[in-house]
Symmetry: D3
Subunit: 337 residues, 6 copies
Amino acid sequence: MSSAGSAKTSFVSDLKPGERVTSYFLVRQKQLEPFRDRAKGEFLTLMLADRTGQILARVWDNAPAMAETFAVGDVLKIAGDVEEYQGRTQLIVQKVRVASEGEFLLADFLPATTRDVAEMVNAVQAVVARLTEPHLAALVRHFYDDPDFTAQLAEVPASRRLHHAYLGGWLEHLTQVLAFAETAIALHPELNGDLLRTGALLLSAGKVHELKWGRAVDYSDEGRLLGHVVLGDEAVAQALAGLPDFPPELALRVRHMLISHRGRYEWGAPREPMTLEAIALHHIESANTQIARFRDLLATRRDGDQPWTGFNRLLGRPLYAGYEDAGGAGPDDGPEA
Amino acid sequence: MSSAGSAKTSFVSDLKPGERVTSYFLVRQKQLEPFRDRAKGEFLTLMLADRTGQILARVWDNAPAMAETFAVGDVLKIAGDVEEYQGRTQLIVQKVRVASEGEFLLADFLPATTRDVAEMVNAVQAVVARLTEPHLAALVRHFYDDPDFTAQLAEVPASRRLHHAYLGGWLEHLTQVLAFAETAIALHPELNGDLLRTGALLLSAGKVHELKWGRAVDYSDEGRLLGHVVLGDEAVAQALAGLPDFPPELALRVRHMLISHRGRYEWGAPREPMTLEAIALHHIESANTQIARFRDLLATRRDGDQPWTGFNRLLGRPLYAGYEDAGGAGPDDGPEA
Amino acid sequence: MSSAGSAKTSFVSDLKPGERVTSYFLVRQKQLEPFRDRAKGEFLTLMLADRTGQILARVWDNAPAMAETFAVGDVLKIAGDVEEYQGRTQLIVQKVRVASEGEFLLADFLPATTRDVAEMVNAVQAVVARLTEPHLAALVRHFYDDPDFTAQLAEVPASRRLHHAYLGGWLEHLTQVLAFAETAIALHPELNGDLLRTGALLLSAGKVHELKWGRAVDYSDEGRLLGHVVLGDEAVAQALAGLPDFPPELALRVRHMLISHRGRYEWGAPREPMTLEAIALHHIESANTQIARFRDLLATRRDGDQPWTGFNRLLGRPLYAGYEDAGGAGPDDGPEA
Amino acid sequence: MSSAGSAKTSFVSDLKPGERVTSYFLVRQKQLEPFRDRAKGEFLTLMLADRTGQILARVWDNAPAMAETFAVGDVLKIAGDVEEYQGRTQLIVQKVRVASEGEFLLADFLPATTRDVAEMVNAVQAVVARLTEPHLAALVRHFYDDPDFTAQLAEVPASRRLHHAYLGGWLEHLTQVLAFAETAIALHPELNGDLLRTGALLLSAGKVHELKWGRAVDYSDEGRLLGHVVLGDEAVAQALAGLPDFPPELALRVRHMLISHRGRYEWGAPREPMTLEAIALHHIESANTQIARFRDLLATRRDGDQPWTGFNRLLGRPLYAGYEDAGGAGPDDGPEA
Amino acid sequence: MSSAGSAKTSFVSDLKPGERVTSYFLVRQKQLEPFRDRAKGEFLTLMLADRTGQILARVWDNAPAMAETFAVGDVLKIAGDVEEYQGRTQLIVQKVRVASEGEFLLADFLPATTRDVAEMVNAVQAVVARLTEPHLAALVRHFYDDPDFTAQLAEVPASRRLHHAYLGGWLEHLTQVLAFAETAIALHPELNGDLLRTGALLLSAGKVHELKWGRAVDYSDEGRLLGHVVLGDEAVAQALAGLPDFPPELALRVRHMLISHRGRYEWGAPREPMTLEAIALHHIESANTQIARFRDLLATRRDGDQPWTGFNRLLGRPLYAGYEDAGGAGPDDGPEA
Amino acid sequence: MSSAGSAKTSFVSDLKPGERVTSYFLVRQKQLEPFRDRAKGEFLTLMLADRTGQILARVWDNAPAMAETFAVGDVLKIAGDVEEYQGRTQLIVQKVRVASEGEFLLADFLPATTRDVAEMVNAVQAVVARLTEPHLAALVRHFYDDPDFTAQLAEVPASRRLHHAYLGGWLEHLTQVLAFAETAIALHPELNGDLLRTGALLLSAGKVHELKWGRAVDYSDEGRLLGHVVLGDEAVAQALAGLPDFPPELALRVRHMLISHRGRYEWGAPREPMTLEAIALHHIESANTQIARFRDLLATRRDGDQPWTGFNRLLGRPLYAGYEDAGGAGPDDGPEA
C-alpha cells in the first residue's frame, strides 16, 4: 500500500513538538467547548488521524465559525504548530480547509498491510492457475478473472478489529490460509486438493461484501444483516447457475465447505462440517485467524516494559508478551521479603 | 390426502386376528432367521407398514427364495392370515409379489395430515393474494404461482420426526404460522404486516428442498449439507435477481428475516434477528413448532392408562398426558401407608 | 393513564427555551458543585424528571440552603426559566418547594401506557367472564374480583426495563398474551382452552408483587429474593387452599403451567414445561415479550438518521431500524470508490 | 430399619444353590415365554426382589394360569428351589400366592439405611429443640411436631437414584447436612446459626412430597410437575400464614434460602443465592450429596478386582475405586514389553 | 498481623478533619493537574493508602518538583492537614519524603487477617502432626517442616480479590477447610481421612507461588501462565521424587485429588474428580470459598442503610445484606399507595 | 510396523470360506453357550482378532474343558476351518493352545500405522537436530536422546479411539504437526520457531504415559487420573530441574505452551493460551487431530454404496463420504414424483 505520489508529507507518528506542519488529516472527533472564562466563547477540540495514529488538536481562534465548515469523516488540509502539553503532543491549528478527493490518497488514512500487495495477488492468482479440476477452475476463475472482484480483493480488510484489520489484510490472510492448505494436502492424500484450494479461494466471495472501508473500516448493512457466510453462498450459487455443466454433487461439496467454515453453530455456521475438506478448511482458517489475532494484540503492547497486555474481554484474559530480554530471568521473583 | 380410488383396501390399523387379507404394504425391515430346528432351514421376518402403522409378518415356507424377490422400501401385494401371538397381532404371509408403481397410491404408505389439503392451499393463496406491497407480492408470487412449487408445498412434511412429520405437515404448520402472524400484526402496529407475511410464506422456499419423501421421509443430501436456511436463501436470492426493481433495503430485510428465523446461532441461524419482523417470525414459528411437537408426543401415549410419556432425550424429560378423567382426582395419592 | 385533573401543566418534553414555567418535577439527582471562582461558594445541579423525560436544572442562588430542604425522590413545585446552553435545554430554578402528596398525580411522573386502561381492564375481565370450566373460573375470580388486585393490575409495569416497562405495561402485555392464546386455542383443539386462559390470567398473581413503582420502577425485595414465579405460586396455592373442591390434578396442571412458564431452567423456571398448555403459555408469552422488547429498543433510536441502534449487551448485537424511506434504496452502497 | 417381627425369613442375598426356600418376594418383572419346543406351551420368567437384591425365577409348570393370578408390584409368598445355571443363581418356583398386606413388612422390600433411625430422629429433634430464635423455632416445630410429617421423614429416600436412594436416606442426609452446618456456623460467626439450621431442617418440607415409595421409589406426579423446591415453598408459606407475628423480613430470608438452595438456575433453582445463609446451605447440601453419590457409586463396584467403575453418563466419566491393597503398587505398570 | 513496634501511628480510617498528622502512606495514584488559573502552574493529586483504606491528598506548593521524587508504589512519610471538602475527607500535604524499607511494616499497608496468625499456624501444624499414615505424613512434612514454606504460608492471601484477599487469608481459609474435612471424615467412614487431610494441606504447595504480595496483591507471572494447580502438582511431584518408597498408587491418588480440586474442566481443573477424597476436597474447599466470598462482599456494604450490595458482575446479581434490625419488618411494603 | 519374521501367516482380513487355517489370534471375547438341545451340553463362542479385523469362532467339541485353558487377552495358536454362515464368515476351531510370548509379534495384533516408522523417527530427529536455541535443544534432547523414550515414541497410539488410534499413530501425528509448525513459522516471523518446535516435540512427553498398549489400546490409570497434560508437565519440569542454566522465563513459556495446548478450559486445559507460540501450537495440533479424525471416520464407511456414515454421537452428526463417482451427479434427485 505504497504512498508514492501522495501529497501527504507529514504523518502523525512523526510529529515533533516545536515544528510547524502542513499536511492532510482525517477528522475522527470534533467538539466545541467553552473557555473557562465564558466571556471568551468557545474553542474547538479535534481528534485528527492518519494511518499511523491519531493526535489531539485545538483551534483557539474563530472556532465556532470554522467548525461549521467541515464534518467528522472529512479529510482536512491543516497548517499548525506541534506542542507538548502535560506530556502529550498536540497540534495547535492555524489554518484549515476541506481537501478535495483528488488531493490525497485514501491509503494514507487507513492502516494497511506492510506486505507487497502485487506480490500477494500474484501468489494467489498462481494458485488459481494451477487448479486442474476443470469445473472448480472455472468456478474460481469466475471470480478471480473479474477485475472488480480482484480490485476489492486487494483492499478488503479481514475484519473490522479482530485480525488483519487493515487494508490488504484479507489478501494477507488468504495467502497464509492457502499455504496452510498446501501443507494439509501434502500430509493428507485423502484430501481433494483442488476442492480445498477452491474453498479457501472462494471465502473471498463473501468477504468483499461484508466490510466497507473508506475513511474507516466497518461492516456494511449487508455484512451485519446477512453475514459473509450467506453473502458468499449467494455469490457462489449465482456463479454456479452460470455453469450448467458443473456436477451437482461437487457443487454441493463446494457450498457445504463454505457455509460450514466457521465450524460450529454457535460461531455462526448454518451447518457444521461434514466432509473432509470442510473440516480442514475450518481448522486451517481458524488457526491463521487466531495466530494473527494474538500477534496483533501482542504488537500493540510490546513496546513498553509491561510484560502483559491489558485484559481482553473477548478472550477473557490478558496475553503475555514477556520481557525485552526474553531469554533472561524475568523480574518476577516472587513475594518481596 | 384422500385415498379415493386406491387399490389398497385394508390398512394395518384395521387388521383383526382371524381374518384373511389381501392388500399392499411397504417393507420397512426384512430378515432371514434360522428355525430352532436348523434342519428346517430359514424363515423370513418382515416389518410391513402403511400410513396407519406397522405390523410384524412371517413367511414360513420357501422363505429364502421369496426373500430374493424384493427389497426394503418396496411396496408388496400380499395375501395372508392375521394371527395373535403373545398378545401381538402378526401376519402370516401366504403370497407376495412386488407391486408396480401404478397399482397403489404413495399417500397410502406415509402418514398424512388429516386436514383438507385443498382448503389449506386456498387459505395460504388467499394470504398471498392479499399482499398489498407490490414488490413483496411479486416476490411471493414468483413461488406461489409456480405449479411445481405448490405441488411440493401440498406434500412436504414439516420435519422428519420433530413436528408435523407427515405429508401435508408443512402446509398445516404454515397456515398456523400465518394465523399467529395476523394476531401479531393486529397487536403490534409497528410491524410491517406484509413483510412478516412474506417471511412466513417464503420459509417454504427452503423447506421443499430440505426433505425428500417417497416411501419414507428423510433429509435430502442438500438438506443435510446445506440446510433449509441456506437453500431457502438461495431460492429467494435467485428470485430477487429476476426482480430488478425490488428495493435493495427491502430485499435485505426479507433475506435477514429468513436467515435469522431460527433465532440463535446455536440453533443453526447464521445471523440472529435484528429487526422487528425477524424477531416476530422467529417467535411465532417456534411457538407453533413446539406446541405441535408436544401435541404429537402426547398423542402417541395418550391412549393407555399411563399418565407419563417415555423420557424424551432431546427434551430431557417425559411429558405429562394425565389421566382419562383429567378433571378428577388422580391416583397419585402420595406415599403408601 | 389520563392526567385529567392534574395540577401539572407543563411537561419536560414541551419545555421551550425562553419561556417561564411553574410545574411539578421529580428529583432524580441532586449535587452541590463549587463555582469556578470558589469565593462564590456552591451552586446546585439537579436532574428533574416527569413521565415525558428529564431535564438538567441549576440553582445559582442560595443553593446550599435550598439543597437542605428536599431529597432525591421528592416531587417539587418549581418556578424557573428555560434556557439553551451548548445545544441543551436546561432549567434555571428560581423557586422551589416540596409538593405534598395530594397536589400531584403519581402517573405524571412515571412513563405510562398510551392505551386506554379501562378498555384493557374490560377486555381482560371479559375473558374472565367467559371461562366455562367452573373450578378454573372460581380460581381466576378469586383474584380478578378482588379490587386491591385489580387496582394493582391496572398499574404494574411488565418489567423494570426489558419490555412494557411503564405503568399499565403488564396490562397491555396481558391483553396481548390473551389474544395470542385465543389464536393458539383456535388452531390446536387439543389445547384445554380454559386452562391456557387461566395460565395467562394468573401470571398476574406473581407480577403484582415482583415490582414496586412509585416515583421509579424497581424490584421489591420480595421480587428480587423470591421472584414472580414463586410469589405467583404462593398466591395461587393459597387461593386453591380456599377452594376445597378444586380437583387435585387440575390444580397440579395450573401450578405446573405457571411455574414452568419461563420455559428453561437457565431462564429461571424451577420446572420445564411438560404439558401442552405449559409449552403453549411459555411460547406465546415469550413471543410477545420479545416483540415488545424489540419494538421498545427500536423506538428509542428511530428518530435519527442512524439506521442502527447502539450495541445491546444483553442481546449481544445492535438492532436495525433502517432508513426513513424504508422501501427505497439505502445509503449503504458498499466500499467507497 | 429393623426387620424384627418380619415373616420374611430368607433374603435374596442369602440364597444358596441347592436349598429349598419359602419366603416373600416383590415382583419386578414378569414375562411368559414359549418353550423351544412350542408344543410344550409357555413358561414364566420373573424378576423377584427384596431389599437385598434381585433374582431371576422360572415357573415351568402351569405357567399361563399362574401368571394370571398376580401382577408386577405384588408381593408373593413363594416356595421353590435355588439352582445355579450358567454361573447365575436362579429360583425354580414350585408354589406361589399373593401375600396380603399384613403378612410382610414393606421395609423388607426396599433397600433401607443401615443406620439407627430412632437415633437419627433424636439427633434431628435435638437440633430443633436447641433453636433459640423464637419465630424460627415455632416455624420449624410446625413441621417437626407433626407426627405425620415425622413418620414420613423417617422413611423418605433422598432421591430416586442419585444418592441416599433408600428408605431413611433423607434422614441420614439431613443429619449429615446439619453436622456440616454446625461446622460452618462455628467457623463463620457472620452466619445466623438458627437461620441456617432452619434452612437445613425445612428442606424436608418439600422432600416428603417429591417422592413416593411403596414397593419402589419413584417421583410422585407432584414431584415431577412441581418439584420439591416449589412443594417445600408451598408448605413453608402455608406454615408462615399460620404464624401472624413472624417478622416479614425473616420470612423472606427463610424462603429465599430454601428456593435458592440448588444454587444455580440451570440446576433448577428459581433464584440464585443472595444471602450468606443461602450460599452456605447450597454448598453444604451439595457437598454431602456429592460425597454420598460417589460413595454409593464406588460401593457398587468395589468388590471385584476391577479398579474402575463403569462409565457414568451423568458424570461423563468412570470413578476410581482402586485396588484392594490401596497402599501398595498398582498393577498398572505401563506399556507391556 | 499485629502492628506492634510499627512507626505508623495514624491510619486512614482514623483521620479526622481539623487534625495535623504525620505518618506513612502507600502511593496508589499520582497525577499533576493544572490550576484553573493556568498561570499558577500545576498541583499534585495523590491517592494514599494503608491497610485501613485510602484517602485523596493534594500538594498545592512546589508540586512538579516534589512529584519527581517518588513513584506509585512507594511508601512516603507525610506531614499534612486533614480537611473536609464537599463531604469528603482529604489530606493537604505539607511535607513528603520516601520512607526507607526499615522504617515501616509491610503489614501496615496491606489488609490482613484479624485472626491470630500464630494460633492458626499451630492449628494447622497440629493436623500435620496427627497424620498417622507414614507416607502421607512424610510427604506433608516435606513442606510443613520447611521454614521458607511456612513463612510464606503465614502471609499468602487466598486470592487477589475473590475471597480471603488479605495477608494471612490463605491460612485462615486452610484452617476452615481442615475443619470441614474433619466433619466429612467423621460423617463418612468410607473416606480415607489422612488422604483427605493431605489433600487440604497440600493445596498450599501451589498457592504460595501463585500470588505475589508486597505493596499490593497480584498474580505472579507463574501464577498467570501456569496456575496454582500446575504449580502445586510440580512441587508435590518433586517432593514425591525424593520419597522413593512412597506407594505409587497412593501418589496417584494424592496428585489426582490436587489437580482435580477445582471440580470441573470449565473451572480450570485438568481432570475432574474420580475418587471419593477428590470429590470431598473439591466440595469442602468450594463451600468455604463461597461462604467467605459472600461474607466479604456483604461486609463491604453492610454499614449503610442500603439493604442490597451493588450488582456483582461475576455473580450476575446483587447480594442482600438486609436491614439493621434484621429480625423486624423491612421497609419494603410493596407499591406505594 | 512391518511383520517381517512373524510366525503369523494368516490374517483375519484374508480368511476365505472353505480353507483350513493355522495361525495366531487374540481372544477378545469368550462365552460358553448351551446347545439348543441341552442334553448336548455347551459350545464355546469366541471373538478372535488381529490387526486386520475380527472374526466369530465356535468350538463345538469339548468346549467347557477347552475354555478353562485360556483367558480373554491371550494370544492363541488355532487350527480350524473357515465357513460361511448366514452371510458371515466364521471359524470352526479344531485345535487351540495358548501361544508363548516369543512366538508372535505384538504388532500383528494391534492395528498399526501404514507409514514407515523408521523414516518418521528420522524426520522427527532431524527437527530435533536443527534446533539452534541451545537451552531448548538441550531440553528436547533430554527426551529424544533417551532410548526408552524413543522406543515408546515409535509405538504409542495418538489416542484410544479418536484419531490415529493405532501403533505408531502418535508418531504419524507428530510428524504432521511439525510440518504444520514449519508452515506457521514461515508465515509468521513473530513466532519463535524453536520454541514452537519444542512445544510440538514435547507433547510426546505426556503422551507416552497416558496410554498403554499391549493386546489392546487403553488409558493407563495415570492417564485417566492425571491426564497427559499433567504427566507431560511433570516430565518436563523434572527435565528442567536437571538443566540449572535454563532461563526461567523461557522455562515458563515452554511449560505454559504445553499445559495450554488443549486451548480451552472445557477441553481440559488448566490454562488457556496466552502467548503467540501457545495459540499456534493449540491450533495446528487441533487442525491435524480433526482432519485425521474425519479421515478415519470416513474410511470406515467409504467402501459401501452408502454416502453417509452413521450418526456420530460425539460430533452430533453423520459425515458425508459421498458417491463413488464423486464428480458426477449424485442419485439424490429430490422428492419422488
